[in-house]
């Protein structure tokens, strides 16, 4: 089985919700739609309080290059545009909509009919994706239309679809592949058309055999699409790792995947592309898994953006009482939240509950120089050294040692026998170095 070459770890995958079908979360009475649901500048609202909106109506416009449109996920009346406190306590602008009925925009196809053919030109497809406000749904939320327009000097020959889902606990991509396999395959063909490539590789980890079988069955009927089984290893879903595992090409430090002729898209993104291009349906629903070892029941859900996470969790018995940590995403790359009374955004791919018993960190002891973090780092960095330098605030050294290549996967901290907070400090270093680089660039200008 194929996998990437250096580093990586093997955490328990704990895919507790893998066997559960998606359940539709009922439309709530009120939705709160945040204006920054993507990397880059927050979108600019184009509706006024008191205005009537329909499902799928554009309510906020992309603001700048790396920004995305935001659509109403419900029909009703805009009650206010106000600041909310998100799950990390930061103040965010959001549009509040009181729900009345469920009236969709007339151009959206709600007939649930499967549409396998697409004859649109590449430009039209890209425009449709940009209009639909689609962002990378693996959690990074980078606008998809920007990714589909790689620099002109890079010739793209392969599209890679990320079905690795290496993050423990999360299962939405797994379920999408099983339940929406046909649609995803059409989505892949649409993306191949948009990029002008005739080869697509779908990488799926070996712990999702049913998804591999399903997609393999459909791929046999399609031309140029190949499903490849990958060895289970974290962080296989990292862009650079997946490219290496599937094509044996190495993306150099500081370069984009397009420099080796590859564009990577996530399974959930591909499904959103299908809906946007074939059904004219913008990104208004999120597929997510809610799981935890202490939960009465684990499950996968499809919820309108803006629904309270609390409502989704209530569908399977609410938050367990002995929860010690709530994580947006999975335990490796997810971010701990303060509470669950927060709206679903394009970032919400899953919520993981960790019990109070297993949540606290272990006490750190001194570094024993075992170099396990170096073995584990998939980017070939020296985490212990970067950590030490971050403590001493030696930012220039960190920059010279490629700290900007770190993708914050957390393998180093996971594997450290002394439980040192390696990644915490590396993140500070990365943020500072990024600031320094930005300051230098603006000085040069």
């Amino acid at each position: 089985m194929k996998t990437f070459k250096i580093g990586g770890i093997h955490p328990h995958d704990n895919k507790l919700s893998a066997g559960r079908r998606f359940e539709q979360v009922p439309v709530p009475k009120e939705v709160i739609i945040q204006l920054n649901q993507h990397i880059g500048a927050p979108a600019i609202p184009i509706v006024e309080p008191g205005e009537e909106v329909k499902v799928g109506q554009l309510i906020a416009k992309a603001n700048g290059f790396v920004s995305a449109n935001i659509h109403s996920s419900v029909s009703g009346k805009v009650s206010k545009i106000d600041t909310i406190t998100d799950a990390w306590g930061t103040r965010q602008q959001a549009i509040f909509i009181d729900v009345e009925g469920d009236v969709w925009m007339p151009d959206i196809d709600t007939s649930c009919k499967f549409k396998p053919t697409c004859n649109l030109s590449a430009e039209v497809i890209k425009q449709k994706i940009a209009d639909a406000g689609i962002v990378g749904l693996g959690g990074a939320c980078f606008p998809t239309h920007v990714k589909l327009n790689p620099p002109k000097e890079h010739a793209i020959d392969t599209l890679i679809i990320n079905g690795a889902e290496c993050e423990p606990y999360l299962t939405p991509n797994h379920r999408l592949m099983i339940e929406k396999g046909e649609e995803i395959m059409v989505g892949v063909q649409i993306l191949m058309r948009a990029l002008g490539v005739d080869r697509a590789l779908i990488g799926i980890e070996s712990n999702k055999q049913d998804a591999i079988d399903e997609l393999d069955r459909i791929a046999a009927r399609k031309e140029g699409i190949e499903v490849i089984k990958l060895k289970k290893k974290y962080p296989q879903g990292g862009e650079k790792q997946l490219i290496q595992a599937l094509t044996d090409r190495e993306v150099e430090s500081g370069q984009l995947p397009s420099s080796v002729g590859v564009v990577v898209q996530n399974i959930a993104t591909v499904f959103a592309v299908y809906e946007a291009v074939q059904l004219n349906k913008p990104l208004i629903e999120m597929y997510m898994s809610i799981s935890g070892k202490e939960m009465e029941q684990n499950g996968n859900f499809c919820a309108r953006i803006g629904t309270s996470v609390k409502d989704v969790v209530a569908m399977i018995g609410g938050m367990p009482e002995n929860t010690g940590k709530i994580i947006a995403g999975g335990p490796m790359m997810g971010k701990a939240m303060i509470h669950i009374d927060t709206p679903v955004t394009k970032r919400t791919t899953g919520i993981t509950f960790i019990s109070a018993k297993s949540a606290p960190r272990f006490k750190a002891s001194a570094c024993i120089r075992c170099a396990r973090c170096i073995q584990a780092c998939p980017m070939g960095l020296e985490p212990y050294l970067l950590y030490k330098k971050a403590l001493r605030q030696d930012w220039d050294f960190m920059e010279a040692h490629h700290i900007m290549d770190c993708m914050e996967c957390g393998c180093c901290t996971f594997t450290c026998p002394s439980r040192q907070p390696l990644l915490d400090y590396i993140r500070v270093g990365k943020a500072t170095v990024a600031n320094n680089i930005r300051a230098r660039k603006s000085n040069e200008k």
Binding site: W88, G89, T90, K325, H339, D424, R427, V428
Partner: protein, 275 residues
């Protein structure tokens, strides 16, 4: 016998040659340095804290001598005493500046500011600030993990282990500004202090609307403008729901302190007010 003689002659010869070479080199490459630089450096505290804006005391001394005046140059650690000595060395009139002190514009302990969650990450203010709001509902307040304390070279900052309140010892503080740079929430202000190390300041940085700020913390400045109205010296300005007392204009009458409904205004080195 000869062995010893030759050895002495050879080594002596090498020594004499090396001495001559060193002497000539020193003569050739001699740099005439202004002796005042060394003198000034000797009078400076040599803390090399960077509080003056230069890399260290030596660089400060060089800058003083090359400029020939003391405009915009001040050693915050040494204060007026050292600056008058420096002026004496340069042969110019000393300009006196008012002494300054660092204040932490947050004075919320756990009783005043209820905790809503527990932070489990590395105990470092920068890391916590990059992650989220902190253990309370106030997005402006002090974390209390001591980045400022670690940055202080003079041991002026201490953290009360019981209440978690960070405080500055005005006696030890030299106003070098290292802590102000270290604080990721920009809570630390370098401000003027009056005689007997006395000063009055607003110990809060919360820019939320009054009700929101008050809900997060009992000791928050709620921007009620009471202090502004009571001040006879125009020293208080309110911007973004937050009061600020200008240290230059303040005459330390303490009327604002008396009127503050949340006791967010602190007077240091005074007797407690009778309310």
């Amino acid at each position: 016998m000869y062995t010893i003689l030759y050895t002495i002659l050879l080594l002596g010869g090498v020594g004499a040659f090396a001495a001559l070479a060193l002497f000539l080199t020193a003569k050739q490459f001699h740099v005439q340095e202004d002796s005042r630089i060394g003198d000034i450096e000797a009078t400076l505290p040599n803390a090399n804290c960077g509080g003056c804006g230069y890399a260290g005391c030596r660089q400060f001394a060089e800058a003083c001598v090359s400029a020939g005046n003391l405009e915009n140059k001040r050693c915050p650690v040494g204060g007026d005493a050292v600056m008058s000595q420096v002026a004496g060395i340069l042969g110019i009139e000393a300009t006196s500046g008012s002494p300054q002190v660092a204040v932490i514009r947050c004075a919320a302990d756990c009783a005043k500011r209820p905790t809503t969650n527990t932070y489990d990450g590395a105990k470092n203010c920068k890391i916590a600030n990059a992650l989220y709001i902190g253990e309370s509902d106030c997005p402006y307040g002090c974390f209390g993990y001591g980045d400022c304390k670690d940055s202080c070279q003079f041991g002026a900052i201490s953290i009360d282990p019981e209440t978690g309140i960070v405080s500055v010892d005005p006696e030890k503080c030299t106003a070098c500004g290292a802590c102000a740079k270290a604080c990721p929430r920009h809570l630390i202000e370098i401000r003027h202090k009056g005689p007997k190390n006395r000063f009055v300041y607003v110990a809060c940085s919360n820019k939320d609307k009054g009700a929101v700020a008050r809900k997060a913390c009992e000791a928050a400045c709620i921007g009620c403008t009471k202090c502004q109205k009571v001040c006879e010296w125009d020293a208080i300005t309110i911007e973004n729901n937050l009061a600020h007392i200008d240290g230059d204009k303040c005459r330390m009458c303490r009327k604002c302190e008396q009127g503050c409904p949340t006791k967010a205004i602190h007077a240091v080195n005074f007797k407690p007010l009778e309310r």
